[in-house]
């Protein structure tokens, strides 16, 4: 056990720091509050710049434009990005989830066709997994693909698709065989979103915005060359994508949580609570300290998990504790913020009395989604119960 950075890790950090110092845009704060439709070209340009410095996908193998970065180096990457308040990258799903899945399961032709444009943000990717009747029980999905000569014909509906509105391509899970057990008849298709018969509609969420979309597929034709992995092996391909989602994601969140608690501590000196400054109110202090501690533990859990992943080679089911931990913690953090701000906490962005232009009222509502997206807390607890603790399957 040694939590000091190794020479390699220090070199990685210093090289990144120097690059960011020279290249991070200075005007992100002017763009941050704008609707994403407006700022999207800005985010694309930023990703392209990162890609030119070979920083867009540090976790990817070197031969595919990455740096074969270790998990610790990935954590360093996100901490440094947060430290300079760098803008996010446009092609988040392509870089984080779908690219690695194409590298793992794709043919050589698919890799050379798709990977460079994922890196350069020339083609934005979205993910078609959930359906109205297949959420936690993903394997029961009904969107079907029927083989017709050298093409699949796709019909069905997907929901909760991030980046659907801007996506050029989609990793779509479909049913190719309905006569076998549900996990064994699935296939992953790579679909050009400009194909005739694809319709994307915004899905308005409880925050009022539309991060997600519904997607409708009516007789959409997809060439067989666009099957990712083997036909009817789509469950394994999809699970590989989901594991990426639960694995290193917490490392990206920790710097943001840290920034939020530090900001909240700062704000607690400016609000009154129980007749005194909130920062001096014993109950508020207890809650802030609890939250601060849990944010540190989130990071320690993450670092310990990294060591296990390095030893075993792949993110395992214990990634589920990270997901439960960060999502529930984020909700508690937002609740404490609301308690400190009192009636000001509810004010939305644009109101002249709103705190930090409404990020806290937005955060309070948005974090309700944290324990649902990327696998509900209930599903995560069932994964731990069955796959980690060896209890009988409960579903």
């Amino acid at each position: 056990m040694d939590l000091n950075l190794s020479p390699d890790e220090l070199q990685f950090r210093d090289e990144l720091r120097a690059w960011l110092k020279a290249n991070v845009p200075r005007d992100w704060s002017e763009w941050r509050e704008k609707p994403i439709e407006e700022s999207f070209p800005y985010l694309r340009a930023w990703q392209r710049k990162l890609h030119e410095g070979r920083w867009a996908a540090v976790s990817w193998p070197k031969e595919y434009g990455g740096r074969s970065a270790s998990l610790t180096q990935q954590a360093i990457f996100w901490e440094e990005m947060a430290r300079v308040e760098a803008p996010p990258m446009a092609n988040a799903l392509g870089l984080g989830l779908i690219g690695p899945t194409i590298i793992a399961y794709g043919t050589e032709a698919q890799r050379s066709r798709f990977i460079p444009k994922i890196l350069s943000a020339e083609e934005i990717w979205c993910q078609g997994f959930s359906e109205p009747n297949a959420g936690s029980d993903l394997a029961s999905l009904q969107t079907e693909a029927r083989l017709d000569g050298r093409q699949y014909v796709v019909n069905g509906q997907k929901v909760w698709t991030s980046y659907g509105w801007v996506g050029n391509w989609c990793e779509l899970v479909v049913r190719t065989d309905s006569n076998v057990p549900k996990h064994k008849g699935l296939t992953v298709l790579l679909i050009d979103m400009k194909s005739p018969g694809v319709e994307v509609r915004p899905l308005r969420q409880m925050t009022g915005e539309s991060e997600f979309n519904e997607m409708f597929f009516r007789d959409v034709r997809v060439p067989v060359e666009n099957v990712l992995g083997k036909v009817n092996d789509g469950w394994n391909v999809a699970v590989s994508t989901l594991m990426h989602e639960r694995g290193a994601y917490g490392a990206r969140l920790h710097p943001l949580f840290k920034r939020n608690i530090n900001r909240l501590i700062e704000l607690s000196r400016k609000f009154q609570k129980n007749g005194q400054v909130a920062a001096e109110d014993p109950l508020t202090r207890q809650k802030l300290a609890q939250c601060y501690a849990e944010i540190e533990i989130m990071r320690m859990n993450q670092l310990r998990a990294f060591s296990r992943i390095s030893a075993t080679g792949a993110p395992g089911p214990e990634g589920s504790i990270q997901k439960i931990f960060w999502s529930e913690l984020n909700q508690r953090l937002q609740q404490i913020a609301q308690e400190i701000f009192g009636p000001y906490g509810q004010l939305l962005g644009g109101d002249s009395h709103a705190i930090d232009n409404g990020i806290w009222s937005y955060g309070y509502l948005r974090t309700r989604g944290n324990t649902i997206e990327a696998g509900t807390s209930e599903v995560q607890r069932s994964i731990i119960g069955h796959f980690v603790l060896g209890l009988p399957k409960s579903y």
Binding site: R285, Q290, Q380, L389
Partner: protein, 367 residues
Amino acid sequence: MEFGLSESQQFLKDSARKFFAGECPSAEMRRLMETDTGYDAGLWLKLAEQGYTGIIFPEEYGGVGLGKVELMLLMEEAGRALLPGPFFSTVVLAGSVVEAAGNHAHKEKYLAPICRGEVRATVALVEGGASWNPRDVQLSATNGKVNGEKLFVTDADVADFMVVVARNGVFVVDSKAHGLKISSMSGMDLTRKLYRVEFNSTPAEEIGDTAELSSAFDIATAALAAELVGGMQRILDITVEYAKTRKQFGKPIGMFQAVQHQCADMYLETESARSAVYYAGWALEEKSPDAAIAVSIAKMYASDAARTVGNRGIQIHGGMGFTWENDLHLYYRRAKASETAFGDATFHRERIARMVIDEGAVSAKHA
């Protein structure tokens, strides 16, 4: 950066687990808990033979010279076995205080015999005000004599000497000294005995300044959290085993999500407490600027989590969990005693608040 255990750390942990399973299985733990002191001379000798009594102390005093992470691993396994007797009091508490506060001669006199396994010892800190903060101590020494009373002193009855925290210094009192009166306090934890100690013009040898106490108490506090982690792991293991075998409505109860999800939470709490404890051990060893915060985080989290894990474990066992014969309540009792010892979660949250709100955030060492 590597948060996993090294080969030698894993070896130490595995051999400690084997040692305690062999020398202090549940039946032996229960036998000792029924005795007045929980101390067994034969077991103590074996602890010394393993080098455990000198684990973190310098080789020049007969110690093994291992680090604080290794101490955490040993205490985790001791906690898993619910080791009765004065190991914590002697080695972790008295040993650390003598090492931090004493000079070379004091260490020759008091620390070396601890390392060699020749003596038992403890630390007398808390008074009627029930504060774990040395600044609240009232007792003081005059002309080499102490007068006053200490409460909640662990294992005082088997201690050959006692380290006494006074307002004006840290003192050592011999167990045979004049004017020393030790009477037992009936605590909930049957495996670690508590005592009231009265001093009446009792001769005491000053070994150092109270300013030296905080580093020693941080080690003891983290070690208590490590013990709690071991206890939580044991409760988790026996509860999961029970949930797999106990059948109701024709199914193992662990198949019901109301039960299974509680097991998942016990796992999450145990693993999270373990991460915090290992980190605290590392931060102490490295004398990292956030070591004190790391210790408070570990103790705060483990104090609450051990109680919660115990609650869930007992609940999942149903009526069986409420019986005397089941070991769960013994761990649950220890968890309550260790929760309050050296500050409960509330105490440590306030300590964290002072460090991160009042003194500005000293953030944890970042990659």
